[in-house]
Each structure stands twice: as structure tokens, then as C-alpha cells.
């Protein structure tokens, strides 16, 4: 049989070849090349985000090496945001990759969690839900959604845009992302005696008239959102039309630069506050330049910053493993768990380390839409809000 000898060897394939002979390797390292997997979405609902992050990943690894020795190759596969496809594609790539640079989508991350665990895979999801922190080896790139939104509230309270005992309307997607954000709102509400009106929607709902009407009727003082840009735009137009002149607080996936071309632009620039784990382009002009040089046709979103950030963290993990002389999967996983105080040069909020079940960071930026490249300016640099500690566990 053809299969017997190949995998019967049990991963001696790399055998620690190449010059760095003192570094131990097993799967996904060949000579001076490391292969990392990417399960992204290039054709599904999150295609736009997926492209930006993946491009940034690619660009990053074109310019960086692990331990100054190993070049990194990405095995990019497109799941179309379908778990079944993700699982299949992972089974196809898992014998060739050392770790996962990127996996898009909570459902796919959840579906693959047991596999990742069994295969000792270090993985960076491009989602910030709390569940992901429960998967060993999976590194959320910043604070989880609940912490994030709570930090947003802190900012609003500080700026006097919201007061104790106010009423808040929260529109959220069904599922992890939305629920996680809502949990943040609820936690804050409990502390500050806010009254919360909840409205759950599906990602395909585009028309927020009914929800905003309901909020207006209840006289809310703030609209909180854990939804997508489309819904944000609708909320803004309807709020404007109904004269519901209150701030809008969103977590990072809520905003896309494209919104500034739409009719809601004016309202958004004056009313929207985005709590985000990554900084805006105006703080990182060189990132944007590099990206635009490489992909002249693209209109970059903040996904680019996320992509660079997660690659930077991956680099730090791999560097550490390499220094430990152990670029095996187990070695990488160890390096990942031992990580402390990751600084990505201001791209991503500081990471305090990865511990199962805990938000990897307590900090957030606050951004606001503006006519700058990337569409947003930084209102507040990374900071830790008053509620973060408690929620992050």
C-alpha cells in the first residue's frame, strides 16, 4: 500500500533538516520553510474581511522571517464560511502545516476545535468571541467582544455621553458575536443601573426601521450594536429620519469604510463610537502604504490591521519556539502558552497572554468614522475601562 510507509513514520518527515540543525521540527517545516494554514472566507459572507486579512498575512510573511532563518509559506484555503468545507479542507492540509495563521468564523473554529486540540495546533481566529478563548492553542487577537463593548461604555461615561440610569437599546446578531456583545452591555447595565432594550436580528436583516422605531418609542439614550456595517447604516438613516439624536456604540465588526460613501455618512461621523482591538490607519500610515503598494486595487478596511497584527503575534510565537529549539507542533504550542505581554507596535491592543477562558486583553481603542484613509480616526488610544477586569474573568 502506498499509504503505509508515508504516514507510518509518524512525522519524522522534516527530521530537523537544514542548517538550523539544532532546532527540532516535525510537521510543516521543511528545510527552511515553514508552512502555515489559512482557512479563510474568500467567497462567502465574510469574503471582504477574509481577503483583507489574508492579504495582510501574506504581505507580512513576504517581509518577515522566523528566527531570521525560516521563510513562511501560507496554505490558503477558502471555506466560503461553510463549516463542512472547513473541516474537509483542514483534513487536506493538516499533514503539511505547522500551525494555523488564520481561521475565519466562529462556527468553523468551533467545528475544528477538537481537531486543533488533538493535533496541537496553534491557531489565530479572526473573531473575538469568548468561546474561542476556551480552545487551547487558539489565540484571540485582542479583547473579547464583551470586554470590548464594556470598554466602549466606559469611554462614553467618561465623556459624559451616557449617564447612570439611562436607557440603552441594543441590536445584536443571533449567535456568539451578538450574544457576547450583549453580555457586555448587560454587565455594564448591572453596574450602572441602565435599562436595556434588546433586539435580536439575523445577519440577513437589512432594514432596522422596526427596531429603531421601538427604541424611539422607549426613548433610549444610546444605541448599542453588535451587528454588521449594513445594519449600522440602516440604524443611522432611520435614527436620523426619526430624529433619534443619540450616540451609537458599536464593536469593531460594525464599521466599514464603505459606509462613508452612503447617505448615513454625516450621521455616523458625529454619532458613532467604535470600540476596537486594532488601531486605525491614521495611527499606522506605513501599514497602509505597504498594503496599497502591494494591492493597488483594494480598498483596505481595518481587517488589514487585524491581519498584520495576528501575523505579528504568530511571528513572536514562532520566534520563541525557534529560540527554544523546538519548532514541533508541541513546541509551538508551549511557546504560545508561555507568551506574555505581546506588543505589536500599536497595531493591536497589548495582549496579556493566553489563558484558557480569559480575555487575552483588557484594552481597546475607540475609533470614530472620519474622512481619512481607512475611514476612521482614533478617539482614544488603547485603554482599559473600569468594567473590563470584572468581565474578562
Amino acid at each position: 500500500s502506498t499509504k503505509a510507509p508515508e504516514s507510518g513514520g509518524g512525522g519524522g518527515g522534516g527530521g530537523g533538516g537544514g542548517e538550523a540543525a539544532d532546532v527540532q521540527t516535525d510537521i510543516g517545516v521543511e528545510g527552511e520553510t515553514i508552512r502555515l494554514g489559512v482557512l479563510t472566507d474568500l467567497t462567502g459572507v465574510f469574503a471582504a474581511l477574509g481577503k483583507d486579512i489574508t492579504n495582510a498575512n501574506t504581505l507580512f510573511w513576504e517581509e518577515n522571517k522566523v528566527c531570521d532563518t525560516y521563510t513562511v509559506e501560507l496554505d490558503v484555503q477558502d471555506t466560503g464560511y461553510v463549516p463542512q468545507t472547513g473541516v474537509q479542507l483542514y483534513s487536506g492540509m493538516k499533514d503539511n502545516v505547522l500551525a494555523m495563521q488564520q481561521t475565519i468564523g466562529s462556527p468553523i473554529n468551533t467545528a475544528l476545535a477538537p481537531e486543533y486540540e488533538a493535533d496541537q495546533i496553534v491557531n489565530f481566529p479572526s473573531a473575538w468571541s469568548k468561546t474561542l478563548t476556551e480552545i487551547p492553542g487558539t489565540g484571540v487577537v485582542g479583547a473579547t467582544y464583551d470586554v470590548e463593548i464594556a470598554n466602549g461604555y466606559s469611554y462614553l461615561f467618561e465623556e459624559g455621553l451616557l449617564a447612570e440610569g439611562d436607557t440603552v437599546g441594543h441590536i445584536y446578531f443571533e449567535g456568539e458575536y451578538g450574544a457576547n456583545g450583549l453580555a457586555g452591555t448587560q454587565a455594564v447595565a448591572e453596574e450602572m443601573g441602565l435599562e436595556v432594550i434588546e433586539a435580536q436580528i439575523k445577519s440577513t436583516d437589512q432594514d432596522m426601521s422596526a427596531q429603531v422605531t421601538q427604541f424611539a418609542a422607549a426613548g433610549v439614550d444610546l444605541i448599542a450594536l453588535t451587528v454588521a456595517p449594513g445594519q449600522l447604516a440602516s440604524v443611522a438613516t432611520v435614527a436620523e429620519a426619526q430624529g433619534l439624536d443619540v450616540p451609537i456604540l458599536g464593536s469593531n465588526p460594525v464599521f466599514a469604510p464603505g459606509l462613508l460613501q452612503g447617505p448615513a455618512a454625516g450621521w455616523l461621523k458625529s454619532h458613532l463610537y467604535v470600540a476596537s482591538p486594532v488601531s486605525a490607519f491614521d495611527a499606522n500610515p506605513e501599514t497602509l502604504e505597504a498594503y496599497e503598494a502591494a494591492y493597488p486595487d483594494a480598498t483596505p478596511s481595518l481587517g488589514v490591521v487585524v491581519g498584520f497584527g495576528m501575523s505579528e503575534i504568530m511571528k513572536q510565537v514562532l520566534d520563541a519556539a525557534c529560540e527554544n529549539g523546538d519548532l514541533t507542533r508541541a513546541g509551538v504550542l508551549t511557546a504560545f502558552s508561555e507568551l506574555e505581554e505581546v506588543d505589536t507596535g500599536g497595531l493591536v491592543v497589548p495582549i496579556r497572554g493566553y489563558e484558557t477562558g480569559k480575555s487575552p486583553s483588557l484594552e481597546n481603542f475607540v475609533l470614530q468614522p472620519a474622512d481619512v484613509p481607512g475611514g476612521a480616526k482614533v478617539l482614544a488610544e488603547a485603554f482599559q475601562g473600569e468594567f473590563a477586569e470584572k468581565i474578562a474573568g
Binding site: S1, T2, K3, A4, P5, S7, G8, T40, L42, T43, G44, A47, G50, K51, T54, N55, T58, V76, Q77, D78, T79, G80, Y81, V82, P83, Q84, T85, V87, Q88, L89, S91, G92, K94, D95, S106, P107, T110, A111, L112, A113, P114, E115, A118, S129, K130, T131, E134, I135, E174, G175, E176, A179, N180, A183, Y295, D297, A298
Partner: protein
């Protein structure tokens, strides 16, 4: 047939009564030999083929089971159903709930019964069947596209339940599915470690055999069913309910039964789906899934069991394979390079394939396969003979051009 026209024979009484063979088509030795060969290949495959293919294979087996079930309902009985995804979900969720453990990751506080997976599988099949049975009185009132869209409602209701009933379904993120095991033998990577001819038999290899057995059983059961008394009753139901009832068929009961059987198939398919992915999530049971299953049976050839299997293979494997070997396909660029993404190319190809098959081979893949088979049987045979055989046997699969039982027209 052509003889009847060639000789000027009046209806002759010669020959007397002949017993009626189940299928009186000339059967050559070729067929059983090919079948055995195919089986041997299928059995030996895990020794040679890498995990990606085996996993794809298992996914295909699961789809085959589901497609055969849907075909019984839609192709054979003419009950258009878009609810298949719902019944798949019932099977999958039941399995995961019955055999899964309480607890789990994330916010979700999952509950599970922790019973043996075999029980989970059986419960999944039964409960799914029950769901079908419960829906059948509604279905009995509706016809054609009305039934189709009403059944679509089930999918959306199902999605809602899947998303809301977190403790059982795991909610939006879903929950992971327990490994299958049979009397202590697990279908996982270890426990026991297994080597056959030096090849490690891990989860993918083990599941392949499980899938093979289940799909084969599902296939044989459906094929036998169609050639039987019950199968005929179902087919008549499709053509004319009144005629069927006047001929003694209890229409309501048969409709209920076919819903039962079809959704039991779906339930089994759902369990296999859960095993194949290792987890379940609402996304996996959306409208697209129902539509894909319909595509399977239409592409395969409505009403043909083998066709359903072929269609399932085509629809479920094609995108995966294409995705995997995207780099070797022309015009397809990497991300950000401006070209087509592989996934997009796969979707184009898939859409195109659907259109072409329906346009040029109305009897579906089954019809296509039939044509090849006939070619193989009389290679290079005279034009007339091959054409004549085409005419006689294609009629068993194709839809007649003038259905005689449409009430108003005859």
C-alpha cells in the same frame, strides 16, 4: 417493440400466460462482475487514499443516504419538499444530544444524555421519522409548489429552534458531535489503535467503512422498495391520487409513510453529517442544504435510486475537490490577485454543471450512466440496434412526454 411494427402481427395469443419477472430486461454477466469489482475497489480504497479523500467519501456517503431519502419523497411520490435540511437537523441534533455529554465549551451550558452512540443514531433516525410523520398531515393538504414552499417554512422554523434552544443544540455556534462507536469499537483515531497492512486505520478510514455500509444498505432498501407493491403505490400517487385511491391505495397513509421513510433517511444522513464534520451548527442546515439536496436528485435523475446516489456524489464532492485543487485550475488566482478565487470558480462550475445536465440530459446522471452502459454492452453495434435499445430502456427513467393522467387533459 420494433418487431411489432415489422411483422403485421395481429395481437396474437401465442405463448399463453407468462409469469411476470420483476425486471425483465436482458441482464448480461457484465453487470455483476462490474458490481463486485466496484465493491472491491471501495473496500480497498482506505489502504491507498489519503485522509482528505476518505473524509470526502464519508461526506458523500452521508449525502447519498439523504438524497435517496429525498428522492423517495420527491422523485417517486411527487411530493416536493424543501424541508430536507430540517429533517437532517433533527437527526443530527438528536444524535448529538443523546450521545453527547453535558457541559461543553463557551457560554453554552450544554446538556446531553451520554448514551451509547448507536442509541443516538437510532434515536436520530426515529425522531426524524417522527418529525416527518407529524408534518405529513399538513403535507397531505398541499400540493406541488405550495407544499414545497410550505415545507421551506420548516427550515426556517428549524433554524430558529437551532439558534434558540442552546442547551440542546449549542445555539449559533453549535456543538461538537461525539465519536461513533459500536459495541466498544470507536470510530475515532485511537482506542483501539488499528493497523491494516501497515496502514494506520484512524477516524477517516473507519468512518469510510461505516459510511459504505450505511449507504449501501440505504441504497438497497430503497431500490427494493421501489420495485415492490409499496413502490408502485407511491409512484401512482405521484401521477394521480384519485386513481391510486380507487385502486385501493390508502392515500393518506401512504403519504404519511413515505414522509416517515424519507425523513428517517434524512435523519440517518444528518447523523452521518454530524459525524463527518465532528460538530453541528445551524448554518449546516439552512435553506441551501435543502436546495442542494434537490439539485442532487434532479441531477441524478428524478425517481432513480442510483441516480440519487450519483447526484449526491456530484453535488457534495465537486466543490470540495475543486476547492482543494484550485491551484491547478487555469484562471484561478490567489486571494487579492484579482483573479477568480477557487471557491468562486467552483461555484461557477457547479452552477454551470446543473444547467448543462438539466438541459442536455433530462434523465440526469442516471440517464447518462445508462447510456454509457449500453455503449459498453454493444460496442460499435449498428446504429439502429443501439438506438433501439436506447429507446426502450430510456423510457424507464425519463419522464414521459405525454403524461396521461393529468385529470384535465385526458
Amino acid at each position: 417493440m420494433s418487431e411489432a411494427t415489422a411483422t403485421k402481427a395481429r395481437r396474437s395469443s401465442a405463448g399463453g400466460a407468462r409469469p411476470l419477472p420483476g425486471t425483465a430486461r436482458g441482464r448480461s454477466l457484465l453487470k455483476p462482475v462490474l458490481l463486485v469489482l466496484a465493491l472491491v475497489v471501495m473496500l480497498a480504497l482506505p489502504l491507498y487514499v489519503e485522509e482528505f479523500w476518505l473524509r470526502t467519501g464519508f461526506a458523500v456517503f452521508g449525502a447519498v443516504v439523504g438524497a435517496i431519502g429525498l428522492n423517495l419523497l420527491v422523485g417517486t411520490t411527487g411530493q416536493l419538499s424543501l424541508a430536507h435540511a430540517f429533517f437532517l437537523a433533527v437527526g443530527a441534533v438528536t444524535y448529538v444530544f443523546v450521545s453527547g455529554e453535558s457541559g461543553g465549551i463557551g457560554l453554552a451550558d450544554l446538556s446531553g444524555l451520554g448514551l451509547p452512540p448507536l442509541l443516538g443514531l437510532i434515536a436520530g433516525v426515529l425522531l426524524s421519522g417522527l418529525a416527518g410523520l407529524l408534518f405529513s398531515p399538513i403535507a397531505a393538504r398541499l400540493r406541488g409548489i405550495y407544499l414545497g414552499v410550505a415545507s421551506l417554512g420548516l427550515v426556517f422554523i428549524g433554524q430558529h429552534v437551532l439558534n434558540s434552544w442552546t442547551s440542546v443544540t449549542g445555539g449559533f455556534n453549535g456543538r461538537s458531535a461525539p465519536e461513533f462507536s459500536l459495541f466498544g469499537f470507536t470510530f475515532g483515531n485511537t482506542d483501539p489503535d488499528l493497523f491494516v497492512l501497515g496502514v494506520p486505520f484512524r477516524e477517516a478510514e473507519r468512518l469510510w467503512y461505516l459510511g459504505l455500509v450505511l449507504a449501501l444498505a440505504a441504497y438497497l432498501f430503497a431500490r427494493n422498495l421501489l420495485r415492490s407493491r409499496a413502490g408502485r403505490a407511491l409512484q401512482t400517487l405521484r401521477d394521480s391520487e384519485v386513481a391510486a385511491s380507487v385502486m385501493g391505495v390508502n392515500v393518506q397513509r401512504y403519504k404519511a409513510r413515505v414522509f416517515l421513510v424519507s425523513s428517517m433517511y434524512a435523519g440517518l444522513s444528518g447523523v452521518m453529517f454530524a459525524l463527518s464534520i465532528g460538530s453541528i451548527a445551524p448554518e449546516s442546515f439552512g435553506l441551501e442544504v435543502s436546495i442542494l439536496y434537490l439539485a442532487m436528485i434532479v441531477l441524478g435523475g428524478l425517481g432513480s435510486v442510483g441516480g440519487a446516489a450519483l447526484g449526491a456524489m456530484f453535488v457534495s464532492a465537486l466543490p470540495l475537490i475543486f476547492q482543494r485543487y484550485a491551484d491547478t485550475v487555469p484562471f484561478v488566482g490567489g486571494p487579492g490577485e484579482g483573479g477568480l478565487a477557487a471557491g468562486e470558480a467552483a461555484r461557477y462550475l457547479f452552477g454551470l454543471a446543473i444547467i448543462l445536465v438539466v438541459l442536455f440530459e433530462p434523465a440526469g446522471l442516471a440517464g447518462l450512466a445508462g447510456r454509457f452502459r449500453r455503449k459498453a454492452r454493444d460496442p460499435g453495434g449498428g446504429r439502429t440496434t443501439s438506438r433501439s435499445s436506447a429507446a426502450t430502456s430510456s423510457s424507464t427513467t425519463s419522464v414521459p412526454s405525454d403524461p396521461p393522467a393529468q385529470g384535465s387533459t385526458t
